[in-house]
């Protein structure tokens, strides 16, 4: 359904933005996103390997950070620009996996192969980088998710060493918590991370199939979800966002063919509200341009029994709450697009006997 009202909130599907593209107006396996100044969405595109017989750090393409203005309505999206590319040099990344933006508009991109954070200014100019591997670590930690709190502290999840680290913006390690396991406070391949307006830290505990909530010092507070595919259960949660009312949004995948995914919505106290499964019944502006330019695409779309398979999320990997505009932005990773839902508090449900 396009519109769903639950417990006094209404989630109203708005539109989608994007199409598959190695550059420019579109995305290539977008896995992380953050909203910067002037409503610009910064998108980390994982890209793909595709170049053989070259050095290991030159095999990929499509990897980049895209800058997009989403617009308020369908068709208003605007491509602003893009920066960075596949590689291990300054300002490049191999496996971009997380992005966060500080109060000055600086863009922090984390790379889970190179285990480092790279900082760009809001125009995409390379500023600096640092390794997230501590002196006490013996191998790569797979730094994968990143978030910034109201005081400028950086929180980074380590997907391969199962920890959360807190840094200064300059990269000085302040604190670290978490060990490999499934008990409260323990982690298994954590990925997405966010900080709410009260300073609590939420971690997508990927292989434990839950989201854990911590204090900024790493003390366990509570957890959301458990492993499964029924209502309120999670399968490989990879990203989490919290809105100003405290509602928690968790992005996950489905093991069934890996072609579906959901965004689960919980109340602050952990009560499950609903799940979104993707509602892109119309193509985005840029996707429609591709179809219009390929006559056979248009013909085939009219021959299929239903376009419903393309409405749904396919491995969504990032969920962002746009507090300024009151909307949820979901990276529909395998469909190389974003699906946008407005959150409405004043929606009037029409009478049922219409």
């Amino acid at each position: 359904m396009l519109t769903e009202t639950v417990a006094g909130r209404t989630y109203d599907y708005s539109h989608s933005v994007g199409r598959g593209s190695q550059t420019g107006m579109g995305f290539s396996n977008p896995v992380a996103a953050a909203i910067g100044k002037d409503d610009v969405l910064f998108v980390v595109n994982r890209g793909s390997e595709g170049i053989s017989n070259v050095a290991w750090n030159r095999t990929g393409y499509g990897a980049r950070v895209s800058q997009i203005k989403l617009g308020a309505n369908a068709g208003e999206e605007e491509f602003i620009g893009e920066f960075s590319k596949y590689g291990n040099g300054n300002g490049e990344f191999i496996w971009g996996s997380g992005v966060a933006i500080d109060g000055l508009g600086n863009v922090f991109v984390v790379d889970e192969w190179l285990n480092r954070v790279t900082v760009f200014d809001q125009e995409g100019n390379y500023q600096r980088d640092w390794s997230t591997v501590g002196s006490d670590e013996t191998g790569p930690n797979g730094a994968s998710g990143i978030a910034i709190d109201g005081e400028g502290n950086l929180f980074v999840t380590d997907g391969r060493s199962h920890t959360v680290k807190r840094f200064t913006p300059e990269g000085k390690l302040l604190a670290s918590w978490g060990t490999h396991g499934s008990a409260e406070g323990e982690l298994d391949s954590p990925w997405g991370i966010t900080v709410d307006h009260e300073g609590f830290v939420y971690v997508a505990d990927f292989k434990n199939h839950r989201v854990q909530k911590f204090t900024a010092d790493g003390n366990f507070v509570t957890q959301f979800g458990s492993h499964g595919t029924h209502r309120g259960q999670l399968t490989y949660p990879n990203s989490v966002a919290v809105d100003p009312e405290g509602d928690v949004y968790i992005c996950d995948w489905s093991e069934n063919g890996w072609e579906q995914g959901r965004v689960h919505i919980f109340e602050k106290d952990g009560r499950f509200l609903t799940s979104l499964t993707g509602d892109a019944q119309q193509l985005s502006l840029w996707a429609q341009m591709t179809v219009d330019a390929n006559d056979d695409y248009g013909k085939r779309r009219r021959e299929v029994a239903s376009t419903e398979p393309e409405w749904r999320f396919a491995q969504p990997t990032a969920v962002v709450y746009d507090a300024k505009n009151g909307r949820l932005v979901v990276a529909d990773t395998q469909r190389s697009r974003f699906q946008i839902y407005d959150k409405q508090a004043t929606y009037l449900v029409p009478q049922l006997n219409l």
Partner: protein, 468 residues
């Protein structure tokens, strides 16, 4: 346990899998040969490879594009990491038999779906597998059964079903081809959403009754209102089918045979072996697992060491599994690794034609041989690779010092490999260039390790290393 036990186990693991480390060979030899055969034939007891790592770190492998030619990346990762080696080897075998390629299908994920079916049905009942293939979207598109209509028969699938997937030429008539094809009219695929602009979607089989010729057919001497399933039942009852499939199995697992098109005029290399396998195939109701059990436990299999040239995929996968290292984690570069068999003549998921690859000596030409040698030499020459370090540690533990000890030790750990006497002499001369190998200090250990790496590089350059 004797050296022969290790050599025999190494032979089994090269054929039924992609080789094994010395530690694994010793453990399996201690467990027993027939017990190992049973374990290999029942892969369900082992965990499958976990797809989540690829989805997380290489999301592009879910529905890869066709132009870069890296759609076999996920399969390569499975080949390198599987704990079910025979299941994966059977997938490779059936991919060679039911050769279907992305060059025409143009969707790697649909061809890869066939590999998943080979894992599921490859060790089970041949009839079930044949039926799955008849309904497989990639196969239907590859052999034009989507253009096979009640009012306009297309014989491509029907012909290849008889010629290449079951009986072989000479065992049916042109009328049989026509009648067979009529039975599969209406077996087609649903239109799917196009790949642009937001990625690829699944294909599904569809039976269109209104496009099916339900009339009477006479096929291989039997008459009835046959549909495709009836045809497959009749095919499976033919002795020619049993002979054809068993000859394929023999050629893939035991010893190189003539190429398939020559089978009608060239007798099997070992007729008694084929007859034993055929009897098992028929008596077991077309059960592939039963045939393989008899084959692996037979004397003709055990005596066939190094009677097959490795396929490019075997060269790549067995060498990488031997040296270990970064393949344990889906590191960047898995796409490039998946291309390596192609550079030696075997483009996975993209065979040259429905006939599959020509095997045996036809794998070798001047270009492919250099690729095979360079690929293996580069990996075994890198003494930081865990598998190479393990070999060095064993030689160190044996206190191997003389050139003869080192050469024999390396040949043992790389196979055990049997080489021509003159090759062994040349290897010893090379190893002797800098005198005895020393292990007394860290410095000389490093030097000895490097010399062993060079020696391993020479050995994998020998003709004998190209055989499995």
């Amino acid at each position: 346990m004797g050296n022969n036990d290790i050599a025999l186990m190494a032979h089994l693991m090269r054929r039924a899998g992609f080789g094994a480390s010395r530690d694994e060979l010793e453990a399996r030899a201690a467990k027993g040969y027939e017990e190992t055969v049973d374990e290999l034939l029942n892969p369900e007891a082992q965990e499958p490879t976990d797809r989540i790592e690829m989805m997380r770190y290489h999301p592009w492998t879910w529905r890869p594009g066709t132009l870069p030619g890296m759609g076999a990346a996920e399969w390569m990762r499975d080949l390198l990491n599987t704990k079910r080696p025979l299941e994966e080897k059977m997938a490779l075998f059936w991919h060679q038999v039911f050769a279907t390629g992305v060059s025409k299908v143009d969707h790697y994920d649909d061809v890869m779906d066939m590999i998943v079916k080979f894992r599921k049905y490859g060790l089970s009942n041949y009839r079930d597998l044949l039926l799955e293939m008849a309904k497989d979207p990639a196969m239907i598109y590859w052999l034009d059964n989507c253009d096979n209509h009640a009012t306009a028969v297309n014989e491509n699938w029907g012909r290849e079903l008889l010629e290449l997937f079951s009986m072989g030429v000479g065992n049916y008539t042109e009328v049989d081809v026509r009648e067979c094809s009529r039975a599969f009219t209406g077996w087609t695929i649903k239109p799917k959403l196009p790949r642009g602009p937001i990625g690829r979607f699944d294909w599904f089989f569809e039976f269109r009754e209104e496009d099916h010729d339900d009339g009477e057919k006479t096929f291989l001497g039997e008459t009835g209102n046959f549909d495709g399933e009836d045809i497959i039942d009749i095919i499976c009852r033919q002795p020619a089918t049993a002979e054809f499939i068993c000859r394929h199995l023999y050629s893939f697992f035991v010893a190189d045979e003539a190429q398939v098109p020559a089978w009608g005029v060239t007798p099997p290399r070992d007729e008694a072996a084929i007859n034993l396998m055929v009897d098992t195939f028929i008596e077991s109701g077309y059960d592939i697992r039963s045939v393989l059990r008899v084959m692996f436990n037979s004397d003709f299999f055990k005596e066939a060491r190094f009677a097959r040239l490795k396929s490019p995929t075997e060269v790549v996968v067995s060498t990488l599994r031997m040296v270990g290292g970064s393949t344990q984690f889906p590191a960047p570069g898995i796409g490039d690794l998946s291309r390596q068999p192609n550079y030696m003549g075997q483009d996975l998921l993209n065979p040259p034609s429905v006939e599959g690859w020509h095997t045996g000596a036809e794998w070798i030409n001047s270009g492919s041989l250099m690729r095979r040698v360079n690929f293996a030499a580069e990996l075994v020459g890198d003494t930081s690779n865990p598998g190479v370090q393990s070999m060095i540690s064993r030689l160190h533990a044996q206190d191997a010092r003389t050139p003869e000890q080192l050469v024999d030790g390396c040949l043992d750990l790389l196979g055990p490999l049997e080489v021509a006497p003159e090759s062994r002499t040349e290897l010893i001369e090379f190893a002797a260039e800098h005198g005895e190998f020393k292990w007394d200090t860290p410095e000389v250990q490093t030097t000895s390790s490097e010399r062993i790496g060079e020696l391993l590089q020479l050995i994998v350059s020998l003709r004998e290393f190209q055989y499995a």
